[in-house]
């Protein structure tokens, strides 16, 4: 048991799990009913689960999907893509425009999603090519689409905020009749399983990490770093299309200004809170996904405490900075030395490392 605990405290997941634990304990102390899950009937007469936990899991779906992709991109390219929100707006606009051109059936939705996927992958590849072929930092390369992405979505929509309405879209955005769990949660579970299986049964994860750790060494070992970077951006494109489509189904319209706004920042935060280095290399997808849920849990907790939606950011920032300060190697080292001094009477060594 102690061995297991020690192993956990050394693992990368220690910080995100600890942060999640803190959020849960804080809510337990504050208000026990925060965790209650009730069974209610929604407007369409379906029996559904509702409660804060469900809304955290449901609301973080887009973020979780994007955090997975952002982790891969971070690992391979040592940088982050800040255009995911803007590209999601483009993907969402394409999704809506295909839906509006046809009668909405299941196959049309599938067609719209595939089209959105292709468009998003192409846009992600634009950034990816600049990163892979021209060795431009991902943040700089994605700055282009960050500025131009939402205007392109505006142009696709013709300046309006078109709505789409269909019970089928409602099934994707909220509940399928007979299943009490919100569909976005199921989509995330299925997608997460697919990615996990893909990384387990192929060498993709290993190759991406080795490119991030040492590009030259990876190339000498027969891995094509450019291809790995492009693949990570292609996966990003698919994830962006999924996130955009889920969001459109959820709210039933596309607003290029507000859809998934600031999500790139949250996704990068999720990667960092998950214990992954933003300087690339080794990664743990589970950490990033937990990070995404921590961010959403924090937001919902603050809403439950009647903090206004605009002021939430300030409190969120304080908590997140606190988490990364605890996770910082300098602080951890100092804490360990302090523990040694207090409990084992060892002298404290202050070592400078840069």
């Amino acid at each position: 048991m102690i061995k297991a605990l020690k192993k956990l405290s050394n693992s990368q997941l220690a910080i995100p799990l600890f942060a999640l634990f803190l959020v849960i304990v804080f809510n337990l102390v504050r208000d026990l009913s925060f965790f209650s899950i009730s069974i209610t009937t929604n407007n369409y007469g379906n029996t559904v689960l509702s409660g804060n936990i469900i809304s955290i899991l449901n609301g973080a779906s887009e973020l979780a999907v994007l955090a997975i992709a952002m982790t891969l991109v971070t690992s391979a390219t040592k940088g982050q893509d800040i255009s995911v929100g803007a590209v999601a707006a483009i993907a969402g606009s394409v999704f809506v425009s295909v839906l509006r051109g046809n009668d909405i059936t299941l196959s049309v939705i599938l067609l719209a999603f595939v089209t959105a996927c292709i468009v998003a992958v192409l846009f992600a590849l634009f950034t990816g090519m600049m990163v892979a072929f021209f060795n431009i930092q991902p943040m700089i390369a994605s700055l282009i689409l960050f500025t131009a992405g939402r205007p392109i979505a505006y142009w696709i929509n013709g300046g309006a905020t078109p709505t789409v309405e269909s019970p089928l879209l409602g099934y994707i955005g909220s509940f399928i009749p007979g299943i009490p769990i919100p569909t976005p949660i199921l989509i995330v579970i299925v997608f997460g399983l697919l990615v996990t299986l893909a990384l387990r049964f192929t060498n993709l994860g290993l190759y991406i990490q080795s490119v991030g750790i040492n590009e030259r060494a990876a190339r000498l070992n027969g891995i094509n770093p450019m291809l790995m970077k492009l693949i990570s951006f292609m996966i990003l494109g698919v994830c962006v299309a999924i996130a955009g489509s889920i969001n459109v189904c959820r709210i039933g319209l596309i607003n290029h200004e507000t859809i998934l706004i600031d999500i790139e920042m949250d996704a990068i935060l999720a990667v960092a809170i998950g214990g992954n280095a933003l300087s690339g290399g080794k990664f743990k997808l589970s950490g990033s996904v937990i990070g995404a849920y921590i961010i959403q849990a924090l937001t919902i907790t603050l809403y439950a405490m009647k903090v206004s939606s605009t002021a939430v950011k300030a409190y969120k920032a304080i908590v997140i900075i606190a988490i990364v300060v605890i996770g910082s190697p300098v602080v951890q080292k100092y804490a360990l030395q302090l523990r040694d001094k207090l409990f084992y009477n060892k002298p404290m060594k202050i070592t400078e490392n840069n």
Binding site: N135, Q137, I140, I144, W155, M265, I268, T310, A311, A314
Partner: protein
């Protein structure tokens, strides 16, 4: 002061005078300045009208003095291989706090200036400490700073309000007349060019930081740390302190930039200076600063801001009045400059010229 030998070492310009390649900083700076001049001359010839009016040229300064100031801060941070995305949020916080201070608490103008500087300096010190001494990734820390500043702005006040204090309005409406430059109005009367006090502050800051970067030990340390922090450490440079000061400077400049913004608009609003950090990063990049550090100049950044805004003016002059065209052309221009820099640096690397 760094000796001449040190300076050559850090700038990457070898001591021998003849037939030595120029440094990347100088090359990228030259490209930016020429690109801007070419663009403006082309605009003057093709569209004439407003572009030949000197007042319109100085209006770019009037409207964007705050952007020049925060871009300078970003350039300093980027030369030291960091990033600061909290500057836009800080401007919103500074404007809102100063407006509330002046209006609701009857504060003095000097008090509000002090407040603006204190907010900038305070946030700069905290962020600098977290980044340099606790070694947390700068992107995450300044992202937290941005969220904090934006959230704090709405906590300070959620309603947009305009300043009515007499003393401040006198300061705001003060104009500096530039002698010798002007244009003739429709009725034939001579109108001299007027600039706002913020422009003067911005220009002084650009020159001051240029001097600091070029001729002081701190400035040369910035380039050394950004170029290669490992070798800088071995040269005996205090890497942590240099990084710390770069963020403090950026925070302070964000405070000043916020006050200049307030002088220009005279109103506090939670949505003030939205995405200003992205524009500042874009200006720095167009001005020839590399995000990887070690290369850049604030003079280039000044021209980066001017190029960015001239493009917007050209887009409007050419009849594409839809707002999204400006963003798309900004994106295209960024794309052009980023690719150009990348190609130039790759070619130079192949030739064996160090940055």
């Amino acid at each position: 002061m760094a000796s001449k030998k040190d300076r050559n070492l850090f700038a990457g310009t070898p001591g021998k005078k003849q037939k030595e390649p120029i440094s990347s900083t100088t090359l990228l700076l030259t490209i930016t300045i020429f690109a801007f001049i070419a663009m403006y001359l082309a605009a003057m010839i093709i569209w004439g009208g407003g572009f030949t009016n000197p007042q319109q040229f100085f209006d770019i300064f009037n409207n964007n003095a705050y952007l020049i100031v925060i871009s300078c801060g970003l350039t300093v941070v980027m030369i030291a291989a960091g990033i600061d995305i909290s500057v836009g949020g800080m401007i919103a916080l500074v404007t809102m706090t100063c407006v509330v201070f002046l209006e609701a608490h009857g504060g003095s103008v000097f008090g509000s200036i002090f407040l603006a500087l204190a907010i900038g300096l305070g946030m700069g010190v905290i962020q600098g400490f977290l980044i340099s001494y606790l070694q947390i990734q700068p992107f995450i820390v300044t992202l937290g700073g941005m969220f904090f500043a934006k959230g704090m702005t709405t906590i300070v006040s959620n309603t947009p309000r305009t300043i009515t204090t007499e003393a401040f309005l006198a300061f705001k409406n003060f104009r500096i007349v530039i002698p010798g430059i002007g244009s003739y109005g429709k009725s034939g009367n001579y109108i001299p060019v007027r600039v706002e006090p913020g422009v003067l502050i911005a220009i002084v800051i650009v020159i001051a930081i240029w001097v600091v970067c070029r001729w002081t030990r701190f400035g040369r340390n910035l380039y050394a740390v950004g170029g290669n922090s490992q070798s800088a450490l071995m040269l005996g440079i205090n890497v942590k302190r240099t990084k710390f000061y770069s963020y403090v400077l950026s925070g302070l400049l964000a405070g000043i930039g916020g006050y200049i913004y307030l002088l220009h608009t005279g109103a506090g609003n939670a949505s003030n200076a939205t995405a200003a950090e992205i524009q500042a990063i874009a200006s720095s990049i167009i001005g020839g600063t590399l995000l990887t550090g070690g290369v850049g100049s604030v003079i280039g950044t000044l021209f980066g801001v001017l190029s960015l805004k001239t493009i917007s003016n050209i887009v409007i002059a050419s009849g594409l009045r839809e707002p999204y065209w400006q963003s798309i052309t900004t994106g295209l221009m960024l794309c052009f400059f980023i690719l150009l820099q990348s190609v130039i640096l790759t070619l130079r690397k192949r030739k064996g010229v160090s940055s």
